[in-house]
Symmetry: C2
Subunit: 146 residues, 2 copies
């Protein structure tokens, strides 16, 4: 068989993803935020989440893994975690104004660095890259497995 026209997608995507994470870490650190904490703040963007288990599932984490993260975020006043009066087993999770400000500041820095990279692509490639990536990233995993 001749050499394939391109490497496997995962072979390109995984190391690149790792490098992008490495680029995020110093930014997160400068805001004293762990990666999982940032992911939680992003997920709480839209509306309050009803249970911790739902939040964990939404971000692809185990429910036991985010407990410490939520502890620290709540302690710093970046989220509110209140028992649901309707069902006092559950905790209502919501981001606070301070949490929003921090989240947005971090994301601005992260995307500023990413824009620096994307600027090196030809405009048509940049557009296609982002459109393709967004489309594929929104596919459910089982559709990717085939």
């Amino acid at each position: 068989m001749a050499r394939p026209a391109r490497p496997d997608l995962a072979a390109m995507m995984v190391p690149l993803g790792r490098s992008l994470i490495a680029a995020e870490l110093p930014i997160l650190q400068s805001h004293d935020l762990k990666m999982w904490a940032y992911i939680v703040l992003l997920e709480l963007r839209e509306e309050p989440t009803r249970t911790q288990a739902a939040l964990a599932q939404a971000i692809g984490a185990d429910k036991t893994r985010i407990i410490g993260v939520l502890d620290e975020l709540a302690e710093r006043g970046l989220i509110r975690r209140t028992p649901d009066p309707q069902d006092r087993r559950a905790r209502l999770l919501a981001i606070t104004p301070a949490g929003k400000r921090l989240r947005d500041a971090v994301q601005r820095d992260i995307q500023a660095n990413e824009e620096r990279l994307l600027a090196r692509l030809a405009p048509a490639d940049r557009r296609g890259f982002l459109r393709g990536l967004q489309f594929l990233a929104e596919l459910p995993p089982e559709e990717i497995a085939g």
Copy 2:
């Protein structure tokens, strides 16, 4: 701050990469190949590698991590691992014809599934996506960190 126009690149790339790996696993399994073994076979595509440490570095692994992988590949006759006559501390690594056949068969299956996904993109997006991804994946990590 308004909602950003797009998610962070890593936030799209990392889960997508995970899904793509999940899609590879059953294919690898059907050929009785571990992920690291496949990565090694891919890296030995071009020319023999002079040392195990160099191979490990090339694929982003620790040198202690690939020893068992090389053991099994050699035992199955998919690679040759011979002491360098010039420096008998080092091991010359090369893929065998059987290794090439297996590697190519696996890659065919993997890329066939990927083509199924890429086919869902508009032609211009598909082209831009692949060109952008290939360009960014070839950047050295320190250039991505900025």
